[in-house]
Subunit: 202 residues, 2 copies
């Protein structure tokens, strides 16, 4: 058994002593940390760009103010990106601590929790981007068949800033997609190691 | 080595002899097959419900016809669900063949291909649902701040049928989410088995 470098603890958590596993884990952890930082930064940027975007226009002596709460999809985008940033900050700290300690993630419940949370965040940020992008398309080009007029020629500065926010949110959701792949790897590789050993027991 | 029930073939494909692996694999494969069938059926249903939905209204003696091509998000929804159905049919056949043969998926490149394709299909169907749902909300409730009027009181039958299509597409995308979890499991468990063995070699 020892030449395999693999032992099985009394619980369901296998204990690996292989140095290559630590090396792979360190690389994966580093990629994860970089992505979490990117998401945290760009998530805040997207939320701020959209959330603090306002423009006042005077139409026939009536002052109209455009703000992100006029469109539910933008509210969803701000909330989703704020959540993603806060979540990534917390996960980034966990990541840094375990990198400093040099520990390897072999705890199945923790790996399941990280995997599930990453999945949920990925789908939420992606859905927010898709809904916001759809609203942006309506605002930019209108929908002539339904007599929905385009409003971006009226609120040009507002629309441009929302566009920048959406671009930032797109990068956030793509980073989340890669991250959820990484956390799937971190979780499911735990299910390969001790499969063969217990082949007769269940 | 033999007491572990695990051998390593000359290539990078580990060969497992454990009967429990086959049992787990059979259950996973069965769940996969059921989900693929659900996606295939509901994907076709969603595409047909939205794609063949039309309603003619006479407004001030002018005939207006509502159809799904009036809204880009619905076109995207029809294409995405059609694709998901065709893809699931193909994957379902592969699944059935390997269940009949009783073979276990241990081929890494194939597992990577299935994982990647499942991920892409999941994100595409989810984005399509989010965009279509956003458009449906605008159609149902309008957006008073932007003077976009609701159109569902005009085309009630059309809107209801689109709503049924979107509900069907929501189930499709949730099934795809579970499926992409399954294919992640099928792929990444291959990366746990022979980690320890080569600990000294790299």
């Amino acid at each position: 058994m020892s030449h395999l470098g693999v032992g099985v603890s009394p619980g369901n958590v296998p204990v690996y002593h292989g140095s290559n596993l630590k090396m792979v884990d360190r690389r994966v952890r580093l990629a994860e940390l970089v992505l979490r930082c990117v998401i945290c930064g760009l998530g805040v940027l997207a939320a701020v760009l959209v959330g603090f975007d306002t423009q006042v226009k005077e139409i026939f002596s009536i002052q109209k103010k455009a703000k992100f709460t006029d469109m539910k999809a933008l509210v969803f985008l701000v909330i989703a990106n704020g959540l993603a940033a806060a979540y990534s900050l917390a996960q980034g700290l966990r990541c840094t601590v375990s990198m400093v300690r040099g520990s390897v993630l072999l705890n199945k419940p923790l790996a399941w929790a990280i995997f599930s949370a990453d999945q949920v965040m990925t789908y939420v940020t992606l859905a927010a981007v898709a809904a916001a992008a759809q609203s942006a398309v309506f605002s930019k080009f209108g929908e002539p068949e339904l007599q929905w007029m385009k409003i971006c020629n009226l609120y040009e500065k507002f629309c441009n800033q929302v566009g920048e926010g959406i671009a930032s949110a797109v990068i956030v959701s793509l980073s989340m997609v890669v991250l959820s792949g990484i956390s799937a790897f971190s979780l499911f590789r735990l299910y390969g190691g001790n499969k063969g050993k217990s082949s007769a027991s269940w």
